[in-house]
């Protein structure tokens, strides 16, 4: 009997451990209705999300995604907009808040190897959705930082652009491949 109780305790402990790491939110709870108001003293950054490279590589795009709601005809998913910068905010935090506020779909995963969040897809456009070399990249003030978006801590007035590349970044102006 003692052994049984011990085994049950261990099972309960493991289940508790698993469920303590689980956070369940309803759709309404997830999306933000209200976002920080911009006051004269608040620090701000700008964010744009665009996918215009897809328009040039339409033939490579997954046929299920060839609709206006996934790829807008002007290639802009989120127009340039000003967001309040909280202390210690990273590129990922701003993206997450903007996505929640504008009710855009997004999927990301934490990558242990790079100790950062990896953005798999925005607005149903995923990595590899438009050819093998496609995926999401970001620039801050026009520069491609070569590390994860949740590691980049922002400063006042920074300009973030998330762009979808169909050619490992070469078509959005990233020159990592050229450097030696």
């Amino acid at each position: 009997m003692k052994k049984d109780l011990f085994a049950i305790c261990i099972v309960i402990f493991i289940l508790a451990l698993v469920f303590s790491g689980v956070k369940i939110q309803s759709v309404d709870e997830y999306y933000l209705v209200h976002i920080d108001d911009i006051t004269p003293e608040s620090q701000t950054v700008f964010l744009t999300i665009r996918c215009d490279t897809i328009l040039d590589n339409w033939q490579q795009l997954d046929p299920a995604l060839r609709y206006e709601k996934y790829v807008p005809s002007d290639g802009v998913i989120l127009k340039r907009h000003e967001y309040v910068l909280r202390d210690g905010d990273t590129v990922y935090d701003i993206l997450d808040r903007a996505i929640r506020h504008n009710k855009i779909q997004m999927e990301c995963a934490y990558s242990v190897n790079y100790a950062s969040v990896y953005v798999k897809g925005i607005n149903h456009l995923y990595e590899f959705s438009c050819g093998e070399l496609s995926g999401w990249m970001y620039t801050v003030n026009g520069i491609f930082p070569n590390y994860g978006c949740s590691k980049y801590v922002l400063r006042d007035g920074d300009e973030i652009v998330w762009s979808y590349t169909c050619d490992l970044g070469r078509d959005v102006g990233c020159d990592w491949g050229m450097q030696k």
Partner: protein, 308 residues
């Protein structure tokens, strides 16, 4: 239809199955065809037809009582697989709720359900295959062409049922010895682990012994004749042709894109064009032909039994 001598000879058997009489070649082609179609596409109609026919045919072969007890395991497993997919895949438009900031979508659950149905369709067809295609039939077909490979294949395919049988035997022997008669649950589970380890050692030894004894009996030697009880009759040929026509027909339509289907980001409506409907019909005929043959055989069997 008049009955041939072969059928009359076997009327004394307790159980009559059409597929037992069918030539191994026709049966093999039939099983390979339907398993291939079940695996090749994610179209829900195709998976559903394959699953349904697999389960019904399985019931006809092993009896519906046994089928129910196997479904009692496989249906919860299917539900588990269906619910596992949305934990890892967050694609899809219809968001139900958010789990750790990632969406759980209806599309992902349906994809999981479809994938689990496909898995079970293939599982049950393989089970039907191993019920019908006993190792003697398999070796009859391939023993001369590829003796070593066919032996290995037939041993492998017969492995799981054999393991199950051996497990039961070892389990009973252990119980008889009174080794794990312990009252508490933990001890019983540990006892099962011991049975498993015995099973593993035993089956390894058994495999080696089988190989040795086959070698000692001259398996695969040149000029060695094998006794065969199968004859390729006209009805076997008819079955083979029907399988080929409907199977290749279905595969052609799949290749032409009649079975194109996508789950992400939103589920494609099911294609009801003439091409697709013809494909569904061809597949349904292919799947149900086995069931109908068994039903027909049962009816004939009962009719003859009541006459004599």
């Amino acid at each position: 239809m008049r009955l041939g001598t072969r059928r009359r000879m076997r009327l004394g058997d307790a159980k009559m199955r059409y597929f037992d009489r069918l030539h191994p070649l026709s049966a093999l082609v039939y099983f390979l065809m339907i398993i291939l179609i079940a695996m090749i596409t994610m179209h829900p109609v195709i998976t559903a037809v394959c699953y349904l026919t697999a389960v019904i045919f399985c019931g006809m072969l092993i009896g519906f009582g046994k089928l129910l007890s196997s479904l009692a395991y496989s249906i919860p497993l299917m539900i588990l697989i269906a619910l596992t997919n949305p934990i890892f895949v967050h694609k899809g438009e219809t968001i139900l709720f958010f789990l750790n900031d990632n969406p759980v979508t209806a599309e992902a659950i349906l994809y999981g359900a479809n994938a689990s149905m496909m898995l079970m369709a293939v599982f049950y067809w393989c089970r039907n295959y191993s019920t019908i295609m006993t190792s003697d039939k398999f070796i009859y077909l391939f023993g001369r062409v590829i003796p070593k490979l066919s032996l290995v294949l037939s041993l492998t395919l017969a492995f799981i049922p054999k393991l199950k049988r051996r497990y039961k035997e070892i389990d009973e022997a252990q119980k008889g010895l009174g080794i794990y008669a312990g009252k508490n649950f933990t001890d019983r589970i540990l006892g099962k682990f011991r049975v498993l380890s015995i099973l593993l050692t035993d089956s390894l030894e058994n495999a080696l012994e089988t190989a040795d004894s086959m070698k000692a009996r001259g398996y695969g030697l040149k000029g060695r004749a094998s006794y065969a009880i199968y004859r390729f009759t006209l009805s076997d040929l008819a079955f083979l042709i029907a399988t080929a026509v409907f199977g290749v027909g279905t595969l052609t339509f799949i290749a032409l894109g009649a079975a194109d289907f996508g789950f992400y980001p939103s589920i494609t409506p099911i294609n009801l064009s003439i091409q697709s409907c013809v494909m569904y019909c061809a597949l349904a005929i292919l799947g149900f032909v086995s069931v109908f043959c068994e039903i027909k055989e049962n009816l004939i069997w009962r009719y003859w039994k009541s006459k004599t």
